[in-house]
Amino acid sequence: MSGAPGQELVRFDRVTLTFPGVNGRPAIEVIRQLDFRIETGEFVAIIGPSGCGKSTLLSLLAGYLPPSSGRVLFRGKPIAGPARERMMVFQQPALFPWLTTAGNVAYGLKLKANRGNGRNVQSTVDALLHLVQLDGFAHHYPSDLSGGMRQRLEIARALAVDPQVLLMDEPLAALDALTRRRMQGEVLHIWEKTRKTILFVTHDIDEAVIMADRVIVMAQRPTSILEIEEVRLPRPRRREDPELAGIVRRLSALLE
């Protein structure tokens, strides 16, 4: 089970990541001495200037990269590699183009490792497509879908294997402004319905403050934490809320 809300789910323990220098070029320190924790059920946003290593941080959590030193702990245990408890949602949706919408969602459920968990594939797929409002598109291919629909499909595919945390790497960055606003609402809706822990990387301060319980502000590379902002505003939040605007202004000033 995912554990009770408030329990520690993720912990970065003095994590440093250095890419070795190739062909005599100097090594690049991407992340330096990073320390933070995320609790079960939290919606955490990470903001920072582009190229500050936010995506790399998610790769560490997904298990695609090991840290150079320090530990990345998930439920108290060091992360050894990719696992379905930690699902990534990529910026450019990495959907399987040869599978239909339903096929993409069902893919994870049909893998040997996930079979026999008592869940019916068809009804799970139907429920998830309904959750992300793609019912009626079950037999379409990803290439037939719009950008926002593809992003929602990717979320549904990740949710199919019942992860404990969703790692979202600037999932809305490629969308136009209007679709982006609508998708922010959709992601919050999905979060409220599923109560998954969400780690949401973005470079849009407004987006971070509107969506997250906590905003982690990163400094320029090598990544370290400038500030952690608890957003204690009631939901649903309104863009026009002066208190919200105040937080955004303060964080902007911090990043400049």
Binding site: R84, M88, A94, L111
Partner: protein, 269 residues
Amino acid sequence: MRPLVLRWPSFRLIERAALPRWALRLVGPLTVLLGWELGARFGLINTLLLPPPSAAFADLGVLISGGYLGKALYASLFRVVCGFALAVVVGALLGLAMARIRLVDDFFDPIVELLRPISPLALFPLAILWFGIGDGSKIFVIALAACFPVILNTFAGARSIDANLIRAARSLGASEFEIFKGIVLPASLPHIFTGIRLAWGISLIVIIAAEMVGATVGMGYMVLEAQQTFRTERVFAGIFVIGAIGFVTDLGFRRLRRWLLPWYRETQD
């Protein structure tokens, strides 16, 4: 999406003649045939060297009714299909293995690159010594010549897979075998298919040449024999048939791809 086509007013008039696209596409070849026929009829060209198309078609009728064409066609197509099938199976497996396993790539890549520039026909005399004058030697050179485009395209396809697709599958819990079967293979299929189409074209080219060098039956042999007995109309009859086969089969391949890979969107074709 429709390709952008410049529209001149006069062209629009022709398009408005309400001919379907396929009929419009017949206009070019038919014009050439008509000009050629008229040129021959009015004595503008030496019909001994360039007989009118009507004579070639008449001879085609003779070849068909005499059963000679059927025999030649069967012999050639049998060799082509065997050599081509071998090339596709070996080429696709080797291409996939080379793309995903470093050791296999290091072993086979130099061999492939050394053999590739050699004309398959340069090896044909050797093939006759090894496999005889019959089907074996032709199947060998076709398989050899046709496997390269399959290897190279499969390799390119399996190498160009978006790394995030594989990461996503791994996070979802896929085993290495499941990733190969469920991600690498389907993601490579469009490229493999391109390789297959090229391989088929090469097979058709190689078989005619090989049969002209050494064979006792087949389309290449038929055309060469007609040339040696100075029956130019038969030479052209053979050439028409070869061209028609290539045209029809490529159409078939495109249909097959649309049916097998309905998700694949080609940007240009």
